[in-house]
């Protein structure tokens, strides 16, 4: 891929439309503006996918969302340019997102999700073409094999709510693949497993294909990173490097890892603030800590990093945790076992890396188990408990029904946004996607109010 300044690109031979595996960079020249513009458009798509996933959208909803996002952002006036735009933007973002483990991970997940849903939208023929492009080493199971496991396949199909009767006629459309290659199907028990092999229905091959797509892109990202550090970064230091560096931060959302200096909070205010401005997930942890004088690891991390982001200084954090924990385990045990991890959160222990407060997405996808209090209440509470918790926050009446309705549709962050709006009697247009954002927005509103009243 050549990058040139503002001149029309040399027309590429008509490429067939459809999905690309991005095996190699396109042999076309790209204008610098397009370089940036295309990638911003693609980022919007990826960001949209990320939001959709964190709101817990179902596969069908995701499919619709991706279709919509792709149409709005990635269609070019000139249809023959579509494929180029797709490929160019992908390769540019590889450069942008190859540079740290964190970035790579995000990009990889979002690109794989994008691929996955685009694949589902393709026609069966082009799906088959793509499969052969991947050269997947699987063959369909034979009739005899099918007969042997037919009942089990039926059982799986019915357990996942798929139609059962049609099975017999499509018997040859199962493939046998090592279970390692379809982790998502295994995790949801959507396949029959026998002696290490998963029986993957033709309608599920998207899983196999995505796994391969993922590994191709994953390897490529590592290579790109190497190239970036060894040559590209310096060679392009006046041209691409600034663009690339700007791109990666401008769309990751605000950074809550460092408290803003003006927003330092002090220990004596913490109960008041918890009451007025903590989102439910943190309120709950806070209350449980006060109640039990203890939190398990997941809870300590979630609340501890949040408090750091809110502006609780390390010394105060230590005091705060100690005052609670020592009631349960005694001050010595606290100093010996827990103080370390709090300092660690602030980057004062261990390798001094700074930890970023958890985003909603991370919290929502956590898996609290027995005895844990972390996680997102909208996702992890039963309806009764959530209702009670909302009542405690002073949310009642219609609002509760609206909130529970969102929860039932798995729109947890929107439920949280509605809660915010109900409590503050103000709208929150951006929606909640980070507990610290919730806090900041709440404080802003409350401060404005107190200014206008005083």
């Amino acid at each position: 891929m050549e990058i040139v300044r503002s001149q029309r690109k040399v027309a590429d031979a008509a490429a067939p439309p459809g999905l690309s595996l991005y095996r190699s960079a396109p042999a076309v020249e790209v204008r610098l503006e397009d370089f940036e513009l295309y990638s911003i458009h693609r980022l919007r798509v990826l960001q949209g996918i990320s939001d959709g996933l964190s709101r817990g959208k179902k596969p069908e909803e995701m499919e619709k969302l991706v279709k919509e996002l792709w149409r709005t952002h990635m269609r070019h006036q000139d249809p023959s340019e579509d494929m180029n735009k797709d490929i160019i933007s992908h390769f540019v973002l590889r450069l942008v997102y190859c540079r740290t483990e964190e970035l790579r991970k995000w990009f990889l997940s979002m690109e794989t999700a994008l691929f996955r849903y685009r694949f589902r939208l393709e026609s069966p023929e082009s799906q088959r073409t793509l499969m052969s492009e991947f050269q997947l080493p699987y063959k369909s199971i034979s009739h005899a094999e099918f007969e042997a496991v037919k009942d089990k396949l039926n059982q799986v199909a019915r357990s996942t709510g798929q139609l059962s009767n049609a099975l017999i006629s499509i018997n040859l459309c199962y493939m046998q693949a090592p279970f390692e290659e379809v982790p998502d199907l295994v995790a949801n028990r959507r396949v029959f497993l026998l002696k290490g092999f998963a029986y993957v229905a033709m309608t599920q091959v998207v899983s196999l294909v995505s796994t391969h797509f993922r590994s191709i892109v994953s390897k490529a990202l590592v290579l790109t990173n190497r190239k970036w550090t060894s040559t590209i970064r310096d060679k392009e230091k006046n041209r691409l490097t600034p663009i690339v560096e700007a791109l990666s931060t401008s769309y990751l959302g605000p950074d809550y890892s460092q408290p803003k200096d003006f927003s330092e909070i002090s220990l004596k205010d913490i109960d008041r603030l918890a009451n007025s401005s903590f989102p439910l997930c943190m309120r709950h942890l806070f209350d449980k800590l006060r109640e039990n004088h203890h939190l398990k690891h997941g809870g300590r991390m979630q609340l501890g990093l949040f408090l750091k982001g809110v502006g609780l200084r390390l010394e105060d954090a230590l005091l705060f945790w100690k005052s609670e924990f020592s009631q349960k385990v005694g001050p010595e045990k606290f100093d010996k076992e827990y103080a370390y991890s709090i300092r660690h959160n602030y980057g004062k222990e261990g390798k001094r890396t700074d930890y970023t407060p958890y985003s909603c997405q991370k919290i929502i996808s956590s898996t609290p188990s027995v005895g844990d209090h972390h996680g997102c209440p909208y996702r992890h509470f039963s309806e009764e408990n959530l209702r009670a918790a909302l009542g405690k926050m002073g949310v009642g009446g219609r609002s509760v029904d609206d909130i529970l309705d969102k929860v039932r549709n798995r729109h947890y962050q929107i439920a949280c946004t509605l809660t915010f709006e109900a409590i503050h009697a103000a709208s929150c247009d951006t929606g909640i996607n980070h507990p610290n954002q919730y806090f900041d927005a709440s404080q802003k509103i409350l401060q404005n109010k107190s200014q206008t009243t005083s």
């Binding site: 059982q155 059962s164 982790p183 295994v186 660690h344 027995v370 844990d372 039963s382």
Partner: protein, 453 residues
């Protein structure tokens, strides 16, 4: 997740994990003390077997052997008052033996195989590039009785007795079958954790090479519990029928255990608050309160001699199964799953870099040795008779050693070590050898092809 963060979490995990109680010696009636532990490490701990296991055939002479394999394994120690020594690693069995004898740790944990020797990780870090990462790890499971506190009334927390221990046996049966039949694993080691739980090590090459994502998918395959402390209804089974794995577990293991043992042993319906707990699982409140009222009236006054638990369970089943609603019929199964299905600490299984206590350690609170459990005979495993340190030392003192014997052969540990060798180690090493052979041959073939070309 950054490397540092994960290693920190592991530090923390030990603090927060299952052995929450502080390791402190000297409180055991059997007289567990550092001196005894020294003797144990000096005479009984099976170093050679551990070394051969953790080498996976790489200690041989075959040209495909990776001689750095064992040395890249993290071993970590815990001492009194929870002092940890992480990232120990050893070149060979005698290095390991000398270190353990010398340090005499209360607890030994086994971590993953890293890209470089853990003890030299700092030296490698100098060379830039994030080279210190876990590359192989057994697939592990950790099941702990304290996670069952809401379904057992005989004990709680750290205690176990023969009334609740069968919950562990059930967990072993369900998981062991699925690991073998569904996932195709063969080399599975079950170990008593020394107090109130079991550990499982899946050691097939395929299992050791799983990515974190793949580990998570297996953990999720086994997961029927959703939600933490704040969700009453923890098991949620959907779909017209159960997935074959769940259906098999239910019919072959869970149902029988629930109806024939747990129900009566734990008296699940004999007291109001216990039966209320079961009724809470039923989504239809009118049915639940109907049953509740019915049982209120004739408290134990039942005319028949039949066990009140059995009678009430049958009544509950009858009401639910005669109902028209699909969801209610599934509810019987949900109750059984809630009470009996294995409760895994999934985080342990999901990541390569969790530590797990080594087999043949001595639990410092109970003095019991973490001996292997035979999954095909797990019904007969009795945690209250697992060998204790003091018994072993007595056996040593009371018998004479013959020249040809190893020390442990004279003790009740002998049976466990023999079982470890014959049922786990030798089939494992045999298959490691085959795998190595195949790998070598295919590589040789490849390079030959390359030459031809």
């Amino acid at each position: 997740m950054t490397k540092e963060e994960t290693s920190f979490e592991r530090d923390d995990m030990q603090i927060d994990g299952h052995d929450t109680e502080r390791l402190q010696v000297g409180k055991i009636p059997g007289g567990f003390c550092a001196e005894h532990l020294k003797v144990y490490y000096g005479k009984l701990f099976p170093y050679a077997d551990m070394y051969r296991w953790l080498s996976y055939g790489n200690d041989g002479k075959h040209p495909a052997c990776d001689h750095s394999y064992f040395a890249r394994r993290e071993i970590s120690y815990t001492f009194e008052n929870d002092i940890f020594m992480r990232y120990q690693s050893f070149n060979n069995a005698s290095d390991m033996e000398n270190s353990i004898r010398d340090k005499c740790p209360l607890k030994i944990d086994i971590g993953p195989v890293y890209s470089v020797e853990p003890s030299k990780r700092h030296a490698y870090a100098q060379s830039g590039n994030n080279v210190f990462v876990p590359v192989e790890r057994e697939l592990i499971f950790d099941i702990d009785m304290s996670d069952y506190d809401d379904v057992r009334y005989c004990c709680s927390g750290a205690d176990v007795c023969l009334d609740c221990w069968p919950l562990m046996t059930v967990a072993i049966k369900v998981l062991d079958t699925a690991l073998r039949d569904d996932f195709g694993f063969n080399h599975i080691l079950w170990v008593y954790s020394g107090r109130r739980g079991v550990h499982c090590w899946v050691c097939d090459g395929r299992a050791r090479r799983l990515s974190n994502e793949q580990r998570s998918s297996i953990a999720d395959y086994f997961r029927v519990y959703k939600g933490g402390e704040n969700n009453v209804k923890r098991v949620n089974l959907t779909g017209q029928v159960l997935h074959p794995f769940l259906a098999r577990s239910y019919t072959n293991v869970l149902k029988g255990f629930f109806e024939e043992k747990l129900l009566t042993v734990q008296n699940l319906f004999a007291y109001e608050e216990r039966s209320q707990k079961v009724l809470e699982i039923i989504p239809d409140e009118s049915i639940a309160s109907e049953l509740h009222d019915r049982w209120q009236g004739n408290r134990r006054s039942s005319i028949s001699k039949e066990d009140v638990n059995v009678v009430r369970w049958e009544q509950l089943k009858h009401v639910l199964q005669s109902g028209k609603q699909k969801g209610l019929r599934r509810c019987v199964e949900e109750i059984v799953f809630t009470y009996t299905y294995p409760r895994l600490d999934v985080e342990v299984s999901k990541h390569m870099n969790h530590l797990l206590k080594a087999p043949f350690c001595v639990h410092p609170k109970t003095g019991r040795v973490c001996v292997p459990i035979d999954p095909s005979d797990c019904d007969n495993f009795d945690p209250t008779t697992a060998p204790t340190l003091s018994e072993l030392l007595e056996e040593l003192n009371n018998s004479m050693r013959s020249e040809s014997e190893e020390e442990w052969e004279r003790t009740s540990l002998g049976k466990s070590i023999k079982f470890f060798r014959s049922s786990f180690l030798s089939p494992l090493l045999k298959s490691c050898k085959e795998e190595m052979e195949n790998l070598y041959n295919s590589k040789a073939k490849q390079s030959k092809n390359a030459l031809d070309w």
